[in-house]
């Protein structure tokens, strides 16, 4: 029986077809994965189903009732519940208070905290997660917060759960908990629409898969009828093997040497980086890799240790100083750290080199600025209608290229990529990989932090593994294996207890 039937649904944004005549059905009680590159229309579909936006044409039938303009309230009433990546938790309230926020259990006119704590504890025990209902959410790590977020959604009964990248911030341990929650929901007969970039998870969890490409419906298949290669082919609309370019030559001399570095979540980290190589950093979320990058880049304070840059001692005082010394960072959070969304592509690319654009004159030369930015728009093949387009209107992949262009314009010798392809579609990923390798072959030294195992193994010339703030291992190409990296990545967790994601 079909719980949800989507019928010729379209959503246009001033001529752009975000969803173009989509029709498919979701059976009751199944886990239905929706796959597609960024911009394929997945988020738009969720917004329609939760009533956040109204379709331009068509509509859908849910639980036997037809809707074309559903309001968020109707969606809740009908039993549709979405779990977003963005947190909807209130940090100063306890876990239990958050779970029952908006529909508190009451004893007369006062809230019945005891009952809410008890119910929360029961829910946690049932799923096998060790959380104290009275603990404030702000005291939790990101992964645990996401678990609370999921618990909050599932603690209210619903017919359809929509999960958009629920595991993105989760560590291995929490991902397992999450899988148990899914099993419980399924056992209770709930239907789940599941969206994830992690294809492995989709194959493990889902019953059927629907693929979108460029706003169009491609196919719906039973999961066992598909393999990963076919799925990717459907997603990109063409056959595409993952292709990691190899280094053209051996790495050159050492350009960066870090010795016993201490700082925010960093314990005695030492490593060295050579010209022309890509040094991968593996580890779990929260292992301190981002903190290491930020410390070297001068964005966070260093409390001890020594850094040598091209033979000279280097003390990262500020990002501005790091950039002057030739170290660039492409941060993991494009939206909040990489780009100024309300500025144009051109202005974002040139922001780090305005001194050169001004060329010792008091004002900025429009012509020079255009020359600078257009060069990189061409070189990196940034798809934008004009260099004056605001970056907020670009796709994730093109936004990432703008961040990269900004760093290339500054002409850094050492580039630190923090999750270079997060949230980027398969086609653009390949372009980023090719660019990174070209930069390395061109004599740049690259540090790449990645939580995507195939990418880490495919792109790196060497892999350093971090665990809980320690640099625990360094592997050469011949030693690369997923199992080994994971083993090292969790090696310090046992010693330090389970509070690993803070």
């Amino acid at each position: 029986m079909d719980l949800l039937k989507i019928d010729h649904l379209s959503k246009y944004y001033s001529g752009v077809k975000a969803l173009d005549d989509i029709s498919f059905s979701v059976r009751k009680g199944e886990i239905h994965a929706i796959c597609g590159e960024n911009g394929a229309g997945k988020s738009t579909l969720i917004k329609v189903l939760t009533g956040a936006i109204h379709p331009t044409k068509g509509g859908f039938e849910f639980d036997g009732k037809a809707y074309d303009k559903m309001t968020p309230h109707q969606a809740m009433e009908a039993g549709i519940r979405a779990i977003y990546q963005e947190f909807t938790l209130i940090p100063y309230l306890s876990i239990a208070e958050n779970l029952f926020y908006g529909h508190e259990l009451m004893k007369g006119v006062v809230r019945d905290s005891e009952a809410m704590n008890r119910r929360t504890r029961e829910l946690c025990e049932e799923i096998g997660v060790d959380l104290n209902p009275r603990e404030k959410v702000e005291a939790l790590g990101i992964a645990q917060q996401q678990i609370v977020e999921i618990l909050k959604a599932v603690s209210q009964s619903a017919k359809l759960f929509i999960m958009d990248e629920p595991t993105a911030p989760l560590t291995l341990k929490e991902t397992k908990i999450f899988f148990r929650i899914i099993e419980k929901l399924k056992a209770e007969g709930a239907t789940i629409i599941y969206i994830s970039h992690r294809l492995e998870e989709i194959f493990e969890l889902s019953d059927s898969i629907t693929v979108f490409c460029d706003g169009k419906y491609v196919v719906t298949k039973k999961t066992e009828e598909l393999d990963k290669k076919q799925l990717i082919a459907y997603m990109v609309g063409r056959e595409l093997g993952e292709n990691y370019p190899r280094a053209a030559q051996r790495p050159g001399e050492e350009v960066l040497k870090v010795e016993n570095l201490n700082g925010t979540r960093l314990h005695d980290v030492s490593f060295s980086l050579r010209k022309g190589e890509i040094l991968g950093f593996g580890g779990l979320i929260g292992a301190g890799r981002t903190e290491l990058a930020r410390a070297i880049f001068g964005a966070d304070k260093i409390t001890g240790g020594k850094i040598t840059l091209k033979g000279k001692e280097y003390k990262p005082k500020s990002p501005a100083a790091a950039l002057r010394a030739g170290i660039g960072l492409i941060p993991e959070d494009r939206k909040n750290q990489g780009l100024i969304m309300e500025m144009s592509v051109k202005q974002n690319i040139s922001i780090g080199v305005l001194d050169e654009v001004a060329n010792k004159k008091p004002y900025l030369s429009k012509k020079r600025e255009t020359e600078y930015s257009d060069q990189y728009i061409r070189e990196l093949k940034i798809k934008t209608p004009a260099d004056t387009q605001l970056v907020k209107n670009l796709s994730g992949g093109n936004q990432q290229k703008v961040v990269l262009a900004k760093m290339m314009a500054i002409n850094c010798d050492i580039l630190i990529f923090d999750e270079p392809t997060r949230g980027i579609d398969v086609g653009a990923k390949q372009e980023i990989y090719t660019l990174m390798r070209a930069l390395a072959d061109d004599g740049k030294a690259i540090i790449m932090i990645s939580s995507e195992m195939p990418e880490l193994i495919g792109m790196s010339d060497r892999i350093a593994v971090m665990s809980n703030g320690y640099h625990v291992a360094e592997l050469g190409r011949e030693e690369f294996s997923q199992e080994k990296i994971l083993e090292y990545a969790s090696s310090k967790l046992v010693l330090e207890g389970n509070n690993n994601d803070k």
Binding site: Y13, S14, G15, V16, F297, A299, S318, P319, A320, A322, L323, R324, L329, P331, N336, Q337, G338, L339, I340, M341, E342, M343, Q347, I351, G352, L354, D355, V357, A358, P362, Y363, L364, P385, N393, K406, I410
Partner: protein
């Protein structure tokens, strides 16, 4: 296509509709009073708004970075009293002006310290400075207006080149320099950048702290300049001078479409906002609308301007023309 053109036009209207508001106001007041539409009224309006206009330029700088400066009126007040006291004590005009402006810039820098060093939200930091400085103005003057300085100083506000009063020329100059900085220079780009995304700017090597010091200092300096103009206009140092000017300046800047969150806005439209405020008050005075009613209306204008900005943001979000 037609749909796109319509949307482009709607976006344009949302951005520049403020000009239509100004024209409409002028038409309404011309009908209500036949004296309104004349060159002398126009200069009266401009002369009237010169003081808040100059303050508005500094406020635009601050608000573009996502901050706000409530201390502008009090800085003008202190400078006004201090300038009078200095000149009465025999300090030459030029010396008094320099001291006053340096001090005003210093007060602005203190705002910068509050924001940069102590991490106080600008609204609170500048509120504190505003309150203290108003007290300082009363302390310096013992609570009474200060009279009896060089007559020559009043030409600063009361003289003119042909029909154009000095204050209007000064305001025009301040706007021109402000516009040049914001639209043509690195510093201007950084001011927008800090308001658009502070962390991304910092990670791009922009000296965010420096930019913040700069905007508050500029705001202080221009408030000082405004205070000197008040002193020249009234020919006496009033400890209450400039009271409520922060409100006028913020309203003008918001009317001009500068985002409260920073990062977005056009200084040319701020001029329109300034002139709207002047037109409103001149028009209301000419039509004998009493002071208290005027204050009510000014408050409503501020709220309406922000409400409109929020509304237009929402419309534009659904109205992207690719």
């Amino acid at each position: 296509m037609i749909n796109d053109r319509r949307k482009t036009m709607v976006n344009y209207l949302l951005d520049y509709g403020i000009v239509i508001v100004l024209v409409a106001l002028m038409v309404i007041f011309s009908i209500a009073s036949d004296k309104f539409l004349s060159a002398s009224t126009l200069f009266t309006i401009l002369r009237q708004v010169a003081v808040t206009g100059i303050i508005s330029v500094g406020m635009t700088f601050v608000m573009l970075t996502g901050g706000i400066d409530l201390s502008v009126g009090s800085i003008a007040g202190v400078v006004s009293v201090l300038g009078a006291v200095l000149m009465v004590a025999g300090v030459p005009i030029f010396g008094a002006v320099v001291i006053c402006l340096l001090l005003a810039a210093g007060f602005g820098f203190v705002n910068g310290i509050c924001v940069n060093v102590f991490n106080i939200p600008p609204l609170i930091g500048t509120l504190g400075v505003m309150t203290s400085l108003r007290g300082v103005a009363y302390l310096i003057s013992n609570g009474v207006p200060v009279y009896g300085f060089d007559e020559g100083f009043k030409y600063f506000a009361q003289g003119s080149v042909g029909p154009i009063p000095y204050p209007v020329i000064l305001m025009a100059a301040v706007f021109l320099v402000g516009a040049f900085i914001l639209m043509k220079t690195r510093t201007g780009r950084y001011i927008y950048g800090v308001g658009g995304n502070e962390e991304a700017s910092r990670l791009s090597g922009v000296g965010v702290t420096k930019i913040k010091y700069l905007v508050y200092t500029v705001s202080g300096l221009l408030s000082g300049l405004a205070g000197l103009m008040l002193l020249a206009r009234t020919n006496s140092g009033q400890p209450s001078a400039g009271t409520g000017y922060e409100m006028d300046a913020i309203t003008a800047v918001v009317l001009g479409g500068v985002s409260i969150a920073g990062g977005k806005g056009n200084i040319w439209l701020v001029i329109v906002g300034v002139v709207i405020m002047g037109t409103l008050s001149t028009g209301m005075v000419m039509n004998n609308i009493n002071d208290y009613v005027q204050q009510v209306i000014k408050g409503i204008v501020l709220v309406a301007a922000v409400a409109f900005a929020q509304f237009s943001q929402k419309v534009k979000a659904n109205n992207i023309v690719v």
